[in-house]
């Protein structure tokens, strides 16, 4: 049972959280201006990174806040968590 550090509540058991997929995939400014392919990329396509991956988490059983995290997808270790309005950390 891994601990995940909610930026507000601190470390809690992973079952208190839900996963929200890749972070920093903003809703397009003007979907109507996108080609079908561009739109499909927004709707259906996400990176499947091996290693450090910026992703969204929600402390669903706690304060219900969304936050972002950088996690190593090979070890599951969280390297840092940050609030949704923080910029994406530089990852290699």
């Amino acid at each position: 049972m891994q601990l995940i550090a909610c930026p507000w509540c601190g470390p809690r058991e992973e079952v208190e959280f839900t996963y929200g997929g890749q972070a920093h995939v903003p809703y397009p400014d003007d979907p109507a201006a996108l080609s079908d392919e561009q739109w499909a990329h927004y709707v259906f396509f996400r990176d499947n990174t091996k290693g450090r991956f910026a992703e969204r988490w929600n402390h669903s059983a706690g304060c219900r806040r969304w936050f972002n995290a950088v996690r190593d997808t090979t070890s599951y270790r969280f390297q840092r968590v940050y609030r949704v309005d923080d910029p994406k950390p530089v990852t290699p």
Binding site: G20, A32, R64, R65, W66, V84
Partner: protein
């Protein structure tokens, strides 16, 4: 009953109390402090069972969980299979029998209780042997929060098996003092009979405490029998000791052959002699202690057979003083006997060559091939292991953060070394936690260890005879031999994981505690590679078997899954409702009257709602308060239709889609104020929709000044439904003008009942004239009863979810998640009218323009009427093209769609269904076939609205 092998004195048993037990039908006795194994040995019985594949007699070969042999089935007080005689503590009335590898689960429910407790500590120490006790004392004295868990019935670890002295007193006196001191520290949790069976992420350890197993039928019923401790430790000290390793030789499986340390344990801890005439076969110095102790206790030690060319000069001298013959440079090559060993075959062993064997009579053969540190927990924590050439064993090969190994688990095999290692390791752990050791934390003293003669690493006695290899047992429980490993290697297997799976070695209850390293060694030998390259198989939790009941804990029966109930639940129960699970909610499905089955009850309830008045508890509907200056902006972005144009006091139906354009929920929206809406969702969608709103607000549109709050349980909701609903609501709320003109369809009004706020809304999920009554659940029972009173003159009829479904289906109202499945757009549902063309964007809009969503062959919601006016189509039935001859063509048969909802209709006087059908709206009027139980049922495709398509009743 006689216990001829019980010593006259000594041991940790209570000789003043005698316990009766039954094994394999024999009545036997033992004492408190015994295990089933020690009590059997006291009576002279070594054999416990026969082996699973070969039917060979098998006995007790170790004194604790590493025993691959002594499997038993407990029958009384409660059936439990696959336990080890060596770990079952004896109690009065125990009934058990030996098991040939497979047991029997009880066929009655387990009446015992099980539970779990979370516990948080600075330092968790696993193992209360010398290293663990020193570590726990060091942490406790420093003021840390400490847990010390140990799997035995009492603390002491290896000290329970010997005659050591610590601090100048008998070691167990020192143990008692240590335990007493730990008990005085308020922040120490000390648990015996508790096995740490798994190490997980972030210092999380699961430990199983056997709280009442040892009490048998006398166990208190209110106390959990077993408890899973969920321990979160900032630092873990693993002091789990070492398992003695056997040496493999031909016929090494006979009852009477056991590990040398086990014999000392049975002698010193349980006051039991394992036999009368012993041969000790060893590759190292430690087994000499067993020989000397047994000799002192009166056992005739026939010989110590030491595989090392020079043996141990020092231990040889001790043996000679005790009159024990030592045969160095010798090995045991085989044994004789049937149900019990009767002699050992001993041969010279020079430069790897085995000479001619001679026979030495014995009734017990003790074996020691060295020691395997119990690295299981370290390895579970993904610690890398290193092969130690001297020990012939795998030891921790790296430092881990937050987990350290101490004592013989780290390969330290002498007492003084273990004590010192315990202190060293816990101090490092405390230092990492910035906890200062106490000034009075003193290291206990033990005699200076005598440097032992170097051990010999010997996995198996060389034997080129294939016949012999077939009785050289590596895993006794699996009947797996050196010949099996040779066959695996011969088949080309190189990975130890593959060898394990090919031979099944290490897959039994003991998980290879004695056989695992042997397999690595023998495999390496056969492959001609270093043992380090072979490695070990992966150590996985649990360390010892854990009952599913213990893992389930309290989450059984009614507590298995929470039951959510509305404020009216007790009323529903009293009214005889039959309940249905809707998510975690318990909802009344129908209210049968005497003699009614579901079908008749539902037809009656439907008729009441269509012709008189019905009432349903709709409190489970999701409700979300959306508030703030930008509330309308948010709803416009999330709903397919326009919500900002809704007037205060009005209600609008809305559909919500995902970005892919597929419907995720629907419901009604009440505008309470310019800056406030009440969103009603489906019962199942309540949490999902709130989360959906929060996700968009928090992650995409934090600039919106809006807040969403769940009020699902803030409002009890009672739809009053049917042509007479106006009379009922008008009677109870005389202040409200309930006329259509004053209170039209899709509007709401606030009122009060005896000062309690009540909201009324003209919303209909049935197609009938209907009023939803919203009130605080505090007053739900009272208001419900007032409604029933007011409705009595009109025959008001409570109805359940089944009737609700029939009524809505007759109107073609889809249930999201039943009539939809995540691939259905609003257009597919015939709800293009609910999709705004004015709004520049909303979630899902762009996807509607994708070619796949424009395809006229998409499945669309339609009605189905079985032509025979009789058949109720099973939900989920497939729909195929009409076949003239009534026979299905050969597969594959093209599928047109499937039935999503199907009911009998009182109103239509026939069964009907809703279905998703390819290009369905174009096919209205067609007849298609639905295969039902092998028969093709012709059905007519219709529009989805079958009752009152004009909506006159609803609007009335």
């Amino acid at each position: 009953m006689s216990t001829p092998f019980r010593t006259a004195e000594g041991g940790r048993i209570d000789r003043a109390t005698t316990l009766q037990f039954t094994f394999d039908g024999r009545s036997l006795t033992g004492h408190p402090g015994d295990t089933l194994a020690s009590a059997l040995l006291a009576s002279g019985q070594h054999q416990v069972a026969t082996s699973i594949r070969l039917g060979r007699p098998r006995g007790i070969s170790a004194a604790w969980a590493e025993d691959p042999g002594g499997l038993v089935q407990v029958e009384e007080p409660f059936p439990e299979p696959m336990l080890l005689a060596s770990t079952v503590e004896l109690f009065d009335g125990l009934v058990a029998h030996g098991l040939p590898g497979q047991g029997r689960l009880a066929d009655v429910p387990d009446s015992a209780r099980y539970d779990a407790v979370h516990h948080h500590v600075d330092v968790l120490v696993v193992g209360a042997g010398p290293a663990g006790l020193v570590a726990a004392l060091g942490a406790a004295r420093a003021g840390a929060r400490v847990a010390l868990v140990d799997e035995q019935s009492e603390a002491g670890g290896s000290l329970l098996s010997g005659t050591d002295r610590v601090d100048g007193v008998p070691a167990l006196d020192w143990v008692a003092d240590a335990v007493a001191e730990l008990a005085r520290h308020p922040e120490v949790l000390h648990l015996q009979r508790t096995t740490a069976f798994g190490v997980y992420d972030d210092g999380f350890v699961l430990a199983l405490e056997r709280r009442t197993d040892h009490l048998g039928a006398a166990a208190p019923r209110r106390v959990s029998r077993q408890r899973v401790w969920r321990i979160r430790a900032r630092s873990i000290v693993v002091a789990t000791g070492a398992h003695e390793r056997p040496v493999v030789f031909a016929d090494n499986d006979r009852p009477g052959i056991m590990l040398a340390r086990a014999a000392r344990t049975f002698l010193h801890r349980y006051g039991v002699l394992p036999g009368r005439e012993a041969v000790v076969f060893t590759t190292n110095d430690s087994a000499y202690d067993a020989a000397l102790d047994l000799a002192r206790a009166g056992v005739q030690v026939q010989a110590v057979v030491d595989a090392r060319p020079a043996g141990s000069p020092q231990r040889r001298a001790e043996c000679e003083r005790a009159g024990i013959r030592v045969l160095s440079g010798s090995v045991v090559t085989g044994t004789e006997g049937v149900e019990r060993i009767t002699s050992a075959l001993v041969a010279p062993f020079t430069d790897g060559e085995v000479g001619a064997a001679s026979v030495i009579p014995c009734d017990v053969l003790l074996v020691s091939g060295g020691w395997n540190p119990a690295v299981h927990l370290f390895s579970q924590a993904r610690g890398r292991l290193r092969y130690d050439e001297v020990l012939g064993a795998f030891v921790p090969g790296e430092e881990l953060d937050g987990l350290a190994v101490a004592g013989s688990a780290a390969g330290v095999l002498d007492l003084a070394g273990c004590l010192a290692d315990g202190q060293r390791v816990v101090r490092a752990a405390l230092s990492a936690l910035a906890i200062v050791p106490a000034a009075d934390d003193r290291l206990p003293s033990a005699p200076e260890p005598v440097v032992p003669a170097a051990p010999l690493v010997l996995w198996r006695v060389p034997d080129t005879s294939e016949a012999h290899a077939r009785t050289q047992f590596v895993d006794l429980q699996r009947d797996a031999t050196v010949a099996d490993i040779a066959r695996a290697v011969g088949a080309g297997l190189r990975s130890i994981e593959h060898v394990k799976r090919y031979t099944t070695i290490g897959t039994a209850h003991d998980q290879g505690k004695t056989s695992g390293v042997l397999t690595s060694g023998i495999t390496a030998e056969l492959l001609g590679i270093p043992v380090q390259d072979t490695g070990t198989t992966t150590f996985r939790p649990p360390y010892t078997p854990v009952a599913f009941a213990a893992l389930a804990g309290r989450d059984r029966g009614r507590l298995f899954d929470p039951e959510r109930v509305t404020a009216l639940h007790d009323w529903h129960v009293a009214a005889g409702a039959v309940f249905e699970d809707v998510g975690q909610w318990k909802r009344p499905r129908y209210y049968p009257q005497p003699g009614e089955d579901m079908e008749t009850a539902v037809l009656r309830e439907c008729a009441a709602a269509r012709t008189g008045v019905g009432i349903i508890d709709g409190s489970t509907l999701g409700k979300i308060d959306v508030q703030g200056p930008d509330a309308a902006v948010l709803l416009d972005r999330l709903y397919t239709n326009m919500m900002s144009s809704l007037k205060v006091g009005a209600v609008r139906y809305g559909v919500m889609c995902g970005v892919d354009g597929m419907v995720i929920d629907d419901g009604t929206v009440l505008r309470l104020a310019e800056d406030r809406f009440l969103v009603l969702t489906t019962t199942g969608g309540a949490a999902k929709v709130l989360d959906w709103m929060e996700e968009w607000v928090q992650t995409e549109w934090p600039d919106l000044r809006v807040h969403c709050t769940s009020v699902t349980e803030q409002w009890a909701t009672f739809p009053v439904v049917g042509p007479r609903s106006r009379d009922v609501v008008g009677t109870l709320f005389p202040d409200v003008d309930v006329s259509t003109e004053a209170f039209p369809f899709m509007t709401w009004r606030d009122t009060a009942l005896d000062g309690v706020p009540v909201r009324l809304a003209r919303i209909s999920f049935s197609g009938e004239l209907a009023f939803e009554v919203h009130v605080s659940p505090w007053y739900a029972v009272a208001v419900w009863q007032r409604l029933l009173e007011a409705g009595r003159p009109y025959g008001i009829t409570p109805y359940g979810t089944e009737t609700m479904h029939v009524l809505r289906a007759e109107k073609g109202y889809p249930i999201i998640g039943q009539d939809t499945d995540g691939t259905v757009t609003p257009h597919d549902l015939g709800m293009a009218w609910a999709v705004s063309k004015k709004k520049p964007d909303f979630i899902g809009k762009r996807s509607f323009a994708r070619p796949a969503n424009q395809d006229p062959r998409r499945k669309q919601l339609v009605g189905l009427l079985p032509v025979d006016r009789h058949t109720l189509l099973p939900e989920g039935s497939q729909i195929v093209e009409f076949v003239a001859d009534g026979e299905l063509p050969p597969p594959p048969v093209p599928m047109l769609g499937h039935v999503t909802s199907s009911y009998r209709s009182a109103e239509l006087a026939r069964p009907f269904a809703l279905a998703l059908v390819k290009g369905g709206r174009e096919r209205v009027g067609d007849t298609v076939h639905v295969p039902v139980n092998g028969t093709l049922v012709p059905v007519e495709v219709t529009g989805s609205v079958l009752v009152d398509p004009e909506g006159a009743r609803r609007d009335g």
